[in-house]
Amino acid sequence: MAKYLLLKHYRGAPAAVNDVPMEKWTPEEISAHVQYMQDFAARLEGTGEFVDGQALAPEGTWVRYDGEGRPPVTDGPFAETKDLIAGWMVIDVDSHERAVELAGELSAAPGAGGKPIHEWLELRPFLTAPPTITE
């Protein structure tokens, strides 16, 4: 088994095929989309492949250390940040092929006009614990 992260981007991914922003969908289209995502997660739990799914607020704060005894410096959000993560799902699957298959299904979530968004999702393997036997 191997864990994969399915990353959904607000910004930074190549343009989706059905690239209409959500605020221009009908309320029914939004409901259908949300339902699809919930059903997808529930189905993966049923197959024993679901690990985690979370959505992130679009705006965050940049933070960095500013030296001993000083409070951290905060900045942003920066409108020009190219890569902006919208959320993720973590899956635990038997093969890379299965991970690709599931990412494809998630990318088919319906958007404007009830048609699949064909959104680009980023699929990233987790680094694992080292195996016991190496030679």
Binding site: L127, P130, T132, E135
Partner: protein
């Protein structure tokens, strides 16, 4: 409460319920419920006869689950007539359970989960924690696996190779969290060796023991990996090594070589060397030849190239590497090692950095990054790039 003792009787208890007429899925569920109850109530007052207690409670859980009163009565009548199981029957039950849980119709992950629960007696929660997935997900994985094998009949003996593959996977997962999967794999393989005299079962057990013996020396306190050549061999567990060698020799004497015996023989040669320099690399290469012959595995060929590099020099190692697919996992790391040994520090540094980027786990990536950094320092230039852990 001795949890290991409790878990060791789980296959037997499932077998008893099976003989009383419960199908595998129902029996396994009932025993799991009884286990969860045992974990809850035993610390306050452990029973004198743990197995008897588990049978009684699991049987009650099973009866509660099968609601139809008539079928209950019929089953109860059957219990009265049930003959006491002989030791041979228990061994057969236990072996059948291994085959069922590693059935070829299951995916590796499902077989692993089912084996740990039904043969190993771990709770769903413990298995979920060990594999870092939610308990609900693991519960579903197990119940699907049980549905998959529900129709399996045992008119033919199962394939021991699938069982060994599952136990190997459990061992190789190592130890994360509360459950020590490596120790659990050894326990289950020992238990299997008690009911099966297949030489590859012994081969796998020997392989596990010999690798487990090195565990105290494999990692530094900060979690970083110590390569075999740099391990403190005084920290190796000599009792485990002695046992592993003995189990291996008995298996090899039967002259039915398999991949696990060959791998164990290689591990035994490493265990035999008091220092890395004393390693009998010529014999290691010979065993890799056997391993390649038995498995045809490209990974075995890759590891063989390392051994050839030690036995006959870096050039010979690089020549052995030449015919292999560069896309193999760890190919680049092996190439880096052999190039450094050959004196080509610049190529080795570049390859170590490349290998670090494609390393499948964090300790290995850090190890390879350190190798690249060490060589870059020798080369005198500080590599520029973005700060941080990229």
């Amino acid at each position: 409460m001795d949890e290991t003792l409790l878990r060791a009787v789980v296959p037997t208890v499932i077998g008893v319920l099976g003989r009383r007429g419960a199908d595998f899925a129902a029996a396994e569920d009932a025993v799991q419920e009884a286990l969860v109850e045992a974990v809850r109530v035993w610390p306050a007052g452990p029973p004198r006869d743990p197995q008897g207690w588990l049978v009684t409670v699991a049987w009650r859980k099973f009866l509660d689950a099968t609601r139809a009163e008539t079928s209950r009565r019929r089953r109860e009548e059957r219990v009265d007539a049930e003959p006491a199981p002989g030791p041979g029957q228990e061994a057969d039950d236990s072996l059948r359970l291994y085959f069922l849980c590693a059935h070829p119709s299951l995916t590796p992950a499902s077989a692993v989960a089912l084996t740990l629960r039904a043969v190993g007696g771990l709770t769903t929660r413990q298995i979920a924690q060990a594999y870092l997935v939610p308990e609900a997900t693991m519960a579903q994985r197990i119940s699907r696996a049980k549905r998959t094998v529900s129709g399996v009949r045992f008119d033919r003996p199962g394939d021991i190779a699938t069982v060994l593959r599952v136990l190997y996977l459990v061992f190789n997962e190592g130890y994360s969290g509360d459950v020590d999967l490596a120790a659990e794999a050894i326990r289950l393989t020992r238990q299997l060796a008690a009911v099966s005299d297949h030489p590859e079962v012994a081969g796998l057990l020997a392989l596990m023991l010999l690798h487990h013996a090195r565990r105290p020396a494999r990692t530094r306190p900060d979690g970083s990996l110590v390569p075999l050549a740099e391990q403190d061999r005084g920290a190796w567990d000599t009792a485990l090594i002695a046992e592993g060698v003995e189990v291996l020799q008995a298996a090899l004497a039967r002259d039915r070589l398999g991949e696990f015996q060959a791998q164990a023989a290689i591990a035994a040669l490493h265990a035999d060397a008091r220092t890395a320099e004393e390693t009998d690399w010529v014999q290691v290469v010979e065993w890799y030849d056997e391993l390649v012959r038995v498995t045809g595995s490209p990974i075995a060929r890759l590891n063989r190239a390392v051994a050839v590099g030690e036995a006959d020099g870096a050039r010979a190692g690089l020549a052995a590497l030449a015919g292999l697919d560069p896309a193999l996992p760890r190919y680049t790391a092996v190439a880096a090692y052999l190039h450094e040994k050959d004196g080509d520090v610049a190529t080795a540094a570049r390859l170590y950095a490349e290998a670090a980027r494609s390393a499948p786990n964090l300790p290995e990536r850090e190890h390879l990054t350190r190798q690249a950094a060490r060589l870059n320092a020798l080369l005198g230039g500080r590599a520029t790039g973005s700060a941080g852990g990229r």
